[in-house]
Amino acid sequence: MQNQHEIIIETENLGKTFFVGSREIEVLKDVNLKIFSTEFVVIFGPSGCGKSTLLNTIIGLEKPTHGKVFTRNQEIYALTEDERGILRSKKMGIIHQMSYWVKALNVLENVAMPLLIEGEKQHRAFLHAEKILEELSIINLADQLPNQLSGGEQQKVALARALITNPWIIIADEPAGNLDSKSADEMMNLLVRLNKETKRTIVLVTHNQDCWELGNRRLEMKDGQIIKDEYHG
């Protein structure tokens, strides 16, 4: 079934080794992975197994020790840092466990930022940000400063910011890790809805077992390797 769709992300013998003093830590060991359009991939595995490192490598922030990463056939580490930045801002929506903000800017301005970075004019970026905030039913937060919001609200705003450029893929690294269970549920439902209704490709890293049944593909990682890869649902 996966072959009907275009490959968004592909890794080829991806390896990453950190050097801490004289110690070598091999965090990723020859990871070969294809993520197809419209998939909702849940990645799980014990803490420290390399999930975040894999995502950081995929989004172009962590140069691999060996192997390659392609997004839609573009080998990203053949690009310059700035070019990878452009690719990231235009084609990837990223959400972390903690959300970071430009503190002096309000929610609307923060959400609009990826579009502005892309080169969009200010008023159009703001209009677009309003639309996204409305879609996620958080337009009431537009004028507030993000740091004054609750954790759940902040993560929704972060999702709005990830969505605004209409990216090829949403990459979420434990987005509910710091949330109470109610907010966590809301967040996950939002992701499921996005995948179902607008066919967005989503990669979600989580260690919450309740979420492992979400989506339609499940990857289990251990010691820097993918040990299980199965489709369901």
Binding site: S52, G85, S89, I94, W101, V102, A104, E120, K121, A125
Partner: protein, 397 residues
């Protein structure tokens, strides 16, 4: 990235740290206003001095003398030769001899001059009472206030006072080979000029020529226009005479004031450097505080050049705002100082003056310097900001 959004980020950042922004800004304002204050003070003083020197027709006048030369003389022949030069309008001379003056039972050695009305007015001597020298009045003199004081007479009372003189005409100014002494000459005071330096008396030159003087001590030559001065000067000097010109003095004054200005301006620039260090400090602290934000912006794909722009813009805004307010405050403060000064000056009988002078050129230079220097100061934090590794910052919480 949309320039307006960069401005918005900078503006909101500055606003979210009001006190620090204000303190940094006031540092620059203080520095710039100090520079404006000191420099306009230097310019104002220079202006006052130059104006004093170049009062009236001064820029058209050449002083002509013999130097120490025995070969040339300022006699009637020389005068008519100079008068015949194409660009010379008029020539006036002065004969300076020694005199023993006797009046009101008081004997004094004074300087005695034979000259004319024109020369006196060129010399900037203004009448306190009576009248100046006229061409046909014989045996009359104009004395200065210093001599009137010596005689314990007010300028008014001095008029009509008779004075008896013994003259000594030095040999350079007569046709003999020795000095000529003429005794018992009676003169009447017809005018008093303002000059408190040393006792002096002036009579029409014809009186001294009648007594045997044949040469002048000095001439003043008026040129037709300022542009011809150098030409006239060369022509006169080619005959062996020496000339002096206020223009020379003015350029000497200007040279002295260059140093004065540099000294004052460097006080200001020290202040500016301190202010810049303050700004540098502010920018660096704000960089440290914002490491996470910058990491975020990079994570979201912001280009290094845009990140640089944020910091450079922030610094430049300090420079522009500080420059403008600084100019404003500097001008206001110097005007207040001027008013206070004039208040005391006029109370003690002086004329109100402008001690401060603002030149557009300097104002523009100061503003440009404030702008440029802060622009450059923004570069270091800007470059540091681009070196931030977003993963390093965002990875561990």
């Amino acid at each position: 990235m949309d320039r307006r959004f960069i401005l918005r980020i900078v503006y909101k950042n500055l606003r979210s740290r009001k006190l620090r922004t204000l303190l940094t800004l006031s540092g620059i304002v203080i520095a710039i206003s100090a520079i404006v204050f000191l420099l306009s003070f230097a310019l104002g003083i220079e202006k006052l001095v130059t104006n004093e020197v170049t009062k009236g027709d001064a820029f058209l006048l050449l002083d002509v003398g013999t130097g120490n030369s025995q070969l040339v003389k300022l006699d009637e022949k020389t005068i008519s030769e100079i008068k015949d030069l194409a660009d010379v309008r008029t020539v006036s001379g002065i004969i300076n001899i020694g005199a023993k003056a006797q009046a009101k039972d008081r004997t004094a050695d004074i300087s005695f001059y034979g000259t004319d009305k024109q020369y006196l007015s060129w010399s900037g001597l203004t009448l306190q009472s009576g009248q100046s020298l006229s061409d046909n009045a014989r045996k009359t003199i104009v004395i200065n206030t210093a001599y009137a004081k010596l005689l314990q007479l007010s300028p008014q009372d001095a008029l009509g006072q008779g004075i008896k003189f013994d003259f000594t005409i030095p040999k350079e100014l007569n046709d003999l080979s020795e000095e000529k002494v003429v005794e018992g000459q009676n003169y009447v005071v017809v005018g008093v000029v303002q000059d408190d330096s040393a006792p002096k008396a002036y009579t029409h030159y014809q009186n001294l020529i009648d007594l045997g003087a044949t040469s002048y001590s000095q001439l003043k030559v008026e040129a037709n226009s300022k542009n011809q001065i150098e030409k006239v000067r060369k022509q006169i000097e080619s005959t062996g005479l020496k000339t002096q010109y206020v223009g020379d003095t003015v350029s000497q004054i200007e040279q002295v004031f260059v140093i004065f200005k540099v000294v004052l301006a460097s006080f200001g620039f020290v202040a500016l450097i301190v202010a810049l260090l303050g700004m540098f400090n502010t920018l660096t602290i704000s960089l440290l505080e914002r490491i996470k934000e910058i990491a975020l912006m990079k994570m979201l794909g912001m280009r290094n050049k845009d990140i640089k722009k944020i910091f450079v813009t922030e610094a430049t805004i300090f420079g522009i705002a500080g420059g403008l307010f600084g100019l404003f405050v500097g001008i206001i403060l110097s005007q207040i100082a001027n008013m206070i000064l004039n208040y005391y000056a006029t109370r003690s009988g002086g004329e109100p003056v402008s001690v401060f002078y603002y030149s557009l050129k300097y104002i523009l230079i100061i503003f440009a310097a404030s702008f440029l220097v802060s622009f450059v100061t923004g570069f270091y934090p800007a470059r540091k900001a681009t070196k931030i590794d977003s993963l390093e910052v965002l990875r561990y919480e």
